[in-house]
Amino acid sequence: MKKFRSGILVFLYILGAASCEKDDICVEGNTPLMVIEFFDIDNPDTPKNVTTLRVVGQGQTVTVNTVADRAGLNKITVPLKTVGDTTSFLFISNSADNEDGFEIGNIDTVTFNYARLEEFKSRACGFIVNYEELAGSFQTDTENWIQDIEIIRSQISNADSTHVKILH
């Protein structure tokens, strides 16, 4: 009987321990951001800052929330759409407003195409999206400040390394 009683205690202990679960907060993963680096066209291995860069998603009225607005930067991270296989951005160099509040910087439109790969991360997270087959292009106009776009990594599963190299 004494053995049985201690057996019950062990059973109840395991029962209690087994009913513990991690909080219902997603910590296992997230949809990754895309990392873009700017390089000098004359010296493709040297990073080059873009003066007062402004990045706006096409169709949006606010600037991208992951990029410091109108700062001189050579490395930025941007979010891609999780619905649809295309995301376009307006990259504005020398961004400034005139007296009427209009943008006077040089606007280049860059489009990224990709395939989305849905992945179930955990009970709390649900699905996230990873991207693959990344391709980039920019609209040519009379005075492009962007000279070339190179894809360094066509798979985006984290924001640890640079995926896109923009030469200017």
Partner: protein, 255 residues
């Protein structure tokens, strides 16, 4: 003369008394005489229903379930036990909604540890089961988790509203059971049990993982253990009677 006789009789009586004392003193009194009344115990099959699954089915719109329970008495304290059931459950998580439906069978043994008093037939038991379930999983709708709110300021982007079914899933597990069955009315038993399961099947495989297994209950993320319970009402059908084995009690000898 009369006086002489009386004295003689008294003397004789005393002498007889001594003579009678002698054999009694040498023969110990049997304080534990053998009980010749044999108590016969009933053996048979007990069948019933899980009350909790019926109750939750009627209260929760997102759940229907039914479980049949049965056990068969093999020996004094050993029972073969089984549960057969079906469950259909729809669950809403933060970013997805899914449904699991299927049936299950659990089979194993129970060992009664309760020493019943005369006439009682109650159980406090522990036991084990092997569980097996076939089911299907349907992902009704889901959204994409993305902490960046730039493209979707209002919330998470909906990825699909079309139900996606994952058919022909199976799961197997072992279960440790602790429970009780109490005779409420003659041959009618009310039972309760808790179960600790260990899932053999890899639940986190594939596009959509197994988050619920009929019979096993919730599959915890990053763990193989699961918890279950039932509250059963069952009827005992006596088939035959057998003598109760009398346990030999060791008499402590006084020094």
């Amino acid at each position: 003369m009369l006086r002489y006789y009386i004295s003689f009789l008294v003397l004789l009586r005393v002498a007889f008394g001594f003579a009678q004392d002698q054999p009694i003193a040498t023969q110990p009194i049997d304080t534990q005489p053998k009980d010749t009344v044999i108590y016969k115990q009933s053996y048979g099959i007990r069948v019933g229903l899980d009350l909790s699954r019926i109750l939750i089915s009627s209260l929760d719109d997102n759940y229907t379930g039914l479980e049949l329970v049965a056990d068969y008495r093999l020996t004094e304290d050993l029972y073969i036990a089984a549960e057969l059931g079906t469950e259909n459950k729809t669950q809403q998580e933060d970013l997805y909604n899914f449904n699991t439906s299927g049936s299950y069978l659990k089979a194993g043994v129970d060992r009664n540890t309760y020493a019943n008093w005369y006439g009682e037939q109650n159980l406090i038991f522990y036991g084990g089961r092997l569980g097996f379930s076939t089911f299907s999983n349907t992902l009704n709708n889901y959204q994409i988790f993305d902490t960046n709110r730039y493209w979707n300021p209002e919330g998470f982007a909906t990825a699909s509203e079309t139900p996606e079914e994952f058919n022909g899933l199976t799961a197997a597990w072992i279960e440790a059971v602790l429970g009780t069955k109490v005779e409420l009315f003659p041959n009618v038993y009310l039972g309760a049990s808790v179960r600790l399961g260990f899932l053999f099947t890899d639940a986190e495989d594939g596009r959509f993982p197994i988050l619920f297994v009929p019979g096993f209950n919730k599959v915890t993320w990053g763990s193989k253990f699961g918890l279950g319970y039932n509250y059963s009402i069952s009827y005992f059908l006596p088939l035959y009677k057998k003598d109760k084995k009398v346990k030999k009690i060791e008499v402590e000898t006084a020094e």
